[in-house]
Symmetry: C2
Subunit: 323 residues, 2 copies
Amino acid sequence: MAPPGELLEALRKPGGTVLCLGHVHPDGDVLGTLLGLGLALSAAGASVTFAGPHPVPDVLAFLPGSDRWQVWKAAPAFFDIIVMTDCPNPDRSEGLLEGARGPRSRVLNIDHHPDNRRYGSIDWIDPSAAATGEMIFDLLVALGLPLTPAIALNLFTAVHTDTGSFRYSNTTPRTFRIAAELAAAGADPALVSDRLYQQRGRDSLVQLGTVLRRVEVSDDGQVAWLSVPRDLVPRELVESEDLVSYPRSIGGVKVAVLLREEAPGTVKASLRAKGEVAVNKIAHRFGGGGHENAAGCTLSGTLEEAAASLLQAVREALASGRS
Amino acid sequence: MAPPGELLEALRKPGGTVLCLGHVHPDGDVLGTLLGLGLALSAAGASVTFAGPHPVPDVLAFLPGSDRWQVWKAAPAFFDIIVMTDCPNPDRSEGLLEGARGPRSRVLNIDHHPDNRRYGSIDWIDPSAAATGEMIFDLLVALGLPLTPAIALNLFTAVHTDTGSFRYSNTTPRTFRIAAELAAAGADPALVSDRLYQQRGRDSLVQLGTVLRRVEVSDDGQVAWLSVPRDLVPRELVESEDLVSYPRSIGGVKVAVLLREEAPGTVKASLRAKGEVAVNKIAHRFGGGGHENAAGCTLSGTLEEAAASLLQAVREALASGRS
């Protein structure tokens, strides 16, 4: 899906101030796209600010431009243009969008989530894109802005992370064609992999081993889960490892779940499916959301209680087929 | 590097019999290329036999054509054309090449290993290729043979496995361009990932956890290793998991080693580097070989003895810089 004309118009000569605004817990696709687009607009002469409610996680600090990222509790001013990427729900800006959106602001909402709430002045939603990174690549090409190595590295990281390193079912010929262009423009695939996967701490494999030994599988083999008590391993391990990918990797498993006790009485859940159940519908029931094959939510109660209610919902979804 | 004219000539009208011959312990790049090329030649009317000294491993049994793979102790006849791919050393056919090579046989040696011994009647060696799969793709295009979904799936798997899912430093824009063509021709990236990484056994994560808890790191943090005694976990786990990737993933590690006790007194070692030391030179000292960043060898002695001598060699290589 090509970028809409009014979006190109808005960005062709972005007079005034531009805010590239992230959502809570920004991941590779959010940061890679905001930084990639913002650096390109900066180079073209725009006055660009990068900000969000949360900082750039350590693992993504290699992204060029991340040193310009600001963490805000409240927006300090109105901005003429506010770009949000990969953010289906404006509430995820923790009020920063409302604070930065003045009467004359134009909000550019660029996303590939099918459940995007279309909260922008201009909404460009393309669920056929594997990552918002693909969309921003097409946007920069359409705008005729140069793909510097720094911009290419940001967009490559966006595409790499949202496709699980070109492994998920969203990966298409288009994904590979864009990756080829980005690599040719200077994005180094091995550097991205090194920064994302090769920076484990000395003790992290022992900790990972401790977590993996806790995996559980349902009797019918269709559901596998890991439940991680708060003090089992350091929080950094849980945040840096894609732990849910492990129960997901068991043959025959249709839904994988990671439950981690965030605080006493609060449990965060990540759900992954392999196409037979839409886990975002399960997550919605608990106030969360996401994609059909990758979703998340927060539950209250003990780890055991959260596991029981979420796994019950998963079983019901499996029993009723693709729900 | 384009396929040489004499190779195209040899394959354009392959009269007589064609043997696609694998080496010991065939991996994704060997099998994907032999099956991909052989299926294309079959479809063009050639009489093709697929064989090797070892069977197709279970994890690669999804490759189309693998049901035609024969396991030989000795070659039953001479063949007019013998194709070997991704095989730097003809000894790795365990005598099958000698047995199948008659006075009129032409051996086509197609490989991307820089240390290939050029044992073919025609040698096409391209170390710039990330995988032999890239070369066979170019070869089929040059021959004008159709890329069916079955052929594309084989070649995609070859490229995927030899680049570590597009993560290793050998991954280039060419790699992604070829992956795009193969995906467009019907290779399903998610199916490949599912078959390679999502078929773990119910107990394998607990076993993996047991192994990971044994990781050791040198005081200077440059070397990390896993040593796996024979009876610690089932052999299938060691064969199906890329265990050496775990010590390799620790930040600051320059060389990672997996040592596994195959039998009393026999230890197999896998070495991985990140560009600072050529581990194939270390492996050569113990009678093994491979690439600069990925090599292997077999040692005799106990697990402790093998670890001591190999780690000493690694330390020496690190001390002398890029050796």
